[in-house]
Every structure is written in C-alpha cells, then in structure tokens.
Amino acid sequence: MSGYLLRRVLEIVPTLLLITLLVFSLLQVTGGDPIAIMLGPSATSELVEQVRHELELDRPAWVRYPVWLWRVGQGDLGKSIRTRRPVLDMILARVPVTVTLAASATLFSILFGVSGGIYAATRRGRPGSYVVGVAAMVGGSVPNYFLALVLMVVLGVELRLVPIAAFSIDVLRDPQTLPNLLMPTLALGAGYTALLSRITRASVLEVLEQDFVRSARAKGLAEWAVTVRHVLRNALLPIVTQVAINAVYLLGGSVLIETIFALPGIGSLLVESIIARDLPVVQGITLIVGFLFIVVNLLTDLLYSILDPRIRYA
C-alpha cells in the first residue's frame, strides 16, 4: 500500500508543476501592460511603477517563476491589487458559502443521480427508464443560470416560498436558513445529477451483463439484493470517479449560481476580480481549484485501492 501511495504521489508532481506554470503565465499573456490595464486609465505612472515593482513584474519571467513558486509553497498567494489584502485571506473568507453550496449540490446529485441511474438500468426498455432518460437529457441541457432564474420566478416571485437573493445559507450556525439552500442546490445540482445518472446507468448496465450476476439470480437471491450487493458494489468505481470530478467541477458552476443569488462565495469573488482585472486574486482562485482537483483525484484513487484491492497491484 505504501509503495502504491508513494508512486501515486510522485505521479502528480509534474501535473502540479504544469498547473502552477499555467496559472503563473496568466499574468504574462495579457495584451499590453498588465499593470496599466489592471489599474485603469486614471492611474498615475508612479502608481503603475510601484505596483509593477510590488508584483516584481520589472524582472524577467524566468527569474520570477521560481520565487513565486516558493512563495506559493509557503501559502503566500500575493496581494490583491483592488483591496491590497492578502489573496489567501480574501479567498478563505469566501470558502464557507462555496463549500456549503458544493456539498449540498453534491449530496443532491448523489441522492437523485445514482438512484435514477440504477432505476433506469434495471428497467431498461421500460417506460421508467425513458422517463429518467428524458429527465437526464433535459437536466443536462438546461443552462444552470437559466434554471436559477426560473426557480427565482416560480419559488421566489410567484409562490414567495424563499427569498430571491442575498440570503444567508449559513446552515450550520442557523438551521432556519436551510430552505434558502433549495434554489441554489437545485440550480447547481441539476446538470451534475443528470450526468451522474448517465454514468451510473452505463456502469450498472455493464455489470448486469456479467456472469456473477446471473449466478446470484440463479441461486435465488431477491432482485434488490442482487442489485445492491453484487451489481452496485462492482459498478461503484466509475460512479465514485464522477462524484469526485463533479465535486470540484461544481466550483465552476457555482460561479454563476453565486453571482445570480448574490451569495458571497469564491465564485462571486472570481467574477468581481475578473471585472476589476485583479489578476492576483484570479490566479489564487485558479491555483487553489486546480490543486484541489489533483488532491481529490488522488484521494479517489486511494479510495479505489480500498474498494478494490486489485488496483494496488495493477
């Protein structure tokens, strides 16, 4: 196990380095002078020079990259041009909202996506399967920002069930805010639920064709026991992968959802920073999300080797 772990950790090093290089180069590819663009036309040339010096853009990129990388390693993501505050602090302040959203949408997608997928697979060719198929097609095609607007009109404006925007979703400290999560969860979760139901269905169908399923049925096991104990257990790997990928990719969708519902999360911070051309914050968020993906991927792989020990020796 430790050998497998070490090999997996070593494998991600080049990818991590490429991610840092990609994020670092964001500041290099701006058309024209990045500082002048960021500070806007009203900035004096002294201020431009001062910020250039602060960001060390007066030195060549190949000198700056190792220094920048070293600082990132120490948890120093630089300072925001807009607020002059450390980027890491700004991001950390926004984490709770985004994590709450991502967690609730992930739970929603597992609950409905996996059960929908299993249902459709075990009833292939029957009406129930088509209903799930249509729902997955619709859920996968409707843009989440449009779905958010529809929910706002229906649940917020017409039915007045929940506030439309700028509500609190601090469910841990104030459980009464739980209903506020409904709209953002549905809007954010729908697409990923659709995707997960497709993956689950395909994976379960593949396992259903295996000989051991026929054996399980032949020895008289109830159909639910076959599905849960034999089929699901073996169909789990692709599902777990998709859940892990979704959990990180949800952060992309949450940019729109946070903006629409005026929730102070990482996504809305990203939009504010892009509009203000505050590149250090954009770099910080991008870097953290990229790293998060690699870490989640690694954890998923380790989870596999626990779920299916054969993988360790492959």
Binding site: P14, T15, L18, I19, L21, L22, V23, L26, L27, V29, T30, G31, P34, I37, A120, R124, S129, V132, G133, M137, G140, S141, V142, P143, Y145, F146, L149, V150, M152, V153, G156, V157, I164, A202, L205, E206, V248, Y249, L250, L251, G252, G253, V255, L256, T259, I260, L270, V271, S273, I274, I275, R277, L279, V282, I285, T286, V289, G290, F293, I294
Partner: protein, 269 residues
C-alpha cells in the same frame, strides 16, 4: 438516426438555427440595436411578436441576430479544439515517447480546472471580449480531442491493416491519413457536437457574467443577464430567451446522442 424522432426534431432545430443565423438581416423584423421602438418591456403580441426589452428593442430581432454569435462561438471554438487536438493527439499517439508524456501531462493540467472557470481565468488575462472567449474556450476544450484522438490512434496502430501498410512501404503520413484517421473519427465527431452545445452555453454564461460579448451586440447570455433585473415585472422576457437557449442546446445534444447511439448501441435508454 433517421428513424429516431428526437434526433430528427433536434436536427430540425439545428437547421432552423442555421437558417436564422445566415438569413438574419432578411428574417429580423427590426434592427436589433435600435432602441425605443415602443414602451420598454412591452409583452409579446402585435406588432412585436416576442415583445420589447427594457430599452424598447425588438426581442425577436435580437434573438435572431444573437444566434449568429452563438453559432460563431460554437464553430470557432470547436474548430480550434478539433484542429489542435487532432494534430497533438495524432503526434502523441503515433510517435509516443517523451512528446506523448508531455502532451498528456499538459492535458491533465487543463483537466484539473472546471471548464468555465479556466475559461474565465484566461479571459481575465486576455481581456473580456468575444474573440478572447473563443480562444479561451478553444484552449479549454482541446485536451478532450487530444485524448480521444490519441486513444484511437494507439488502438489503430496495433491493428493488422496498419502493420500491412507499413510492410507495403507506406509512409507515416499516408498511413495516418488513409488507415488510422478514418477509423478514429467516429467518437471525435460525437465529441464535436457535444462541445458545440457546451460552447454555446459557456458563451452565454460568460456574457451573462459581463465578461463575454459586450453590449450592445445581441448575445443570448447578455439578453438573459439584462432580463434578470425584470424578473418580477416581465418574467416572460428571461423565459423566452432562456427557452430558446435551452431548446437549441437540447437539440444539439439530441443530435450528438443519436450519433453516439449509432456508434455504441449500449447507450440506448
């Protein structure tokens, strides 16, 4: 594919979209950026079939012209991703070695970001406009093609007909063109239709956030973003724009799905 009603309906919508985009000046009843055609937020009816927006611009005309932006972004984005992906995928898959490793690691790096988020970061660096949206989305979608093409090439390379071509003295270029590529294009075409739909959603999303198409150019995302301020007074406005966007993406996905089904019968529901 011809015998499937959903695919047929999807294909019809796609054709309708192509017609609308190419004949926009003939079909649009009004100039899409002309303001004050009537009172702001006039609901659908006569003479403005789909109503007027808050500035008194004709919604129907703006939707028709907006289809040009959507199609343009879809087409350019997919062309960038397809061309670069095909070239790098073939090189990585056919020649392997260090190049293959480097290309694959670069793909992993791009895959580590949610697509829209990476596109946003690239736009933040390049500057928010429609050209940069297409470049950013093109970069974000390229690794999918690289992977698909590479896997296809790796599998095809081991086939006996390739060995036969090598034995017959064919050069690499000829083998790739005549023997490898035709056998791997199926999944790539399916991917093309899906990324096309995704690019349309992504462009609308970026314009919705204010970092894509800039006003007054009519873009569906921009219209949806403007409509957001009038949810209580004029829910029909975001409703119409959103439904058009949804139907077009649904149609493209239906076409993509039936293409995939034709290649992989297991995906039938």
């Amino acid at each position: 594919m011809g015998r499937r009603p959903p695919a047929l309906a999807g294909g019809a919508v796609v054709i309708l979209l192509l017609v609308a985009a190419s004949l926009a000046p003939l079909l649009a009843p009004h100039d899409p950026i002309e303001q004050a055609l009537g009172p702001g937020l006039t609901p659908p009816g006569r003479p403005f079939l789909l109503g007027l927006d808050s500035l008194g611009r004709d919604v129907a005309s703006r939707l028709i012209y907006g289809s040009r932006i959507s199609l343009l972004v879809g087409a350019i984005t997919v062309s960038i991703a397809f061309t670069v992906g095909l070239a790098l995928g073939v090189l990585a898959g056919y020649y392997g070695g260090q190049l293959d490793r480097l290309v694959m690691r670069a793909c992993d790096a791009v895959f580590s970001f949610p697509p829209v988020l990476l596109a946003m970061a690239l736009i933040a660096a390049l500057g928010p406009n429609i050209r940069n949206v297409m470049i950013a989305l093109g970069i974000v979608y390229t690794p999918r093609y690289i992977r698909l093409v590479r896997v296809g090439v790796l599998a095809a390379r081991e086939q006996e007909y390739v060995a036969a071509a090598v034995a017959a003295g064919a050069r690499d270029g000829r083998i790739l063109r005549l023997h490898v590529l035709p056998n791997i294009l199926g999944p790539v075409v399916v991917q093309t239709s899906f990324s096309f739909g995704e690019a349309i959603i992504a462009e609308a999303a970026l314009s919705f956030l204010g970092i894509g198409t800039q006003p007054p150019t009519p873009s569906w995302g921009l219209m949806l973003s403007e409509a957001r301020d009038y949810l209580a007074q004029a829910a029909w406005y975001p409703g119409i724009v959103g439904c058009v966007l949804f139907l077009v993406v649904l149609a493209i996905n239906l076409v993509g799905d039936s293409l995939r089904d034709a290649l992989d019968p297991r995906s039938t529901w």
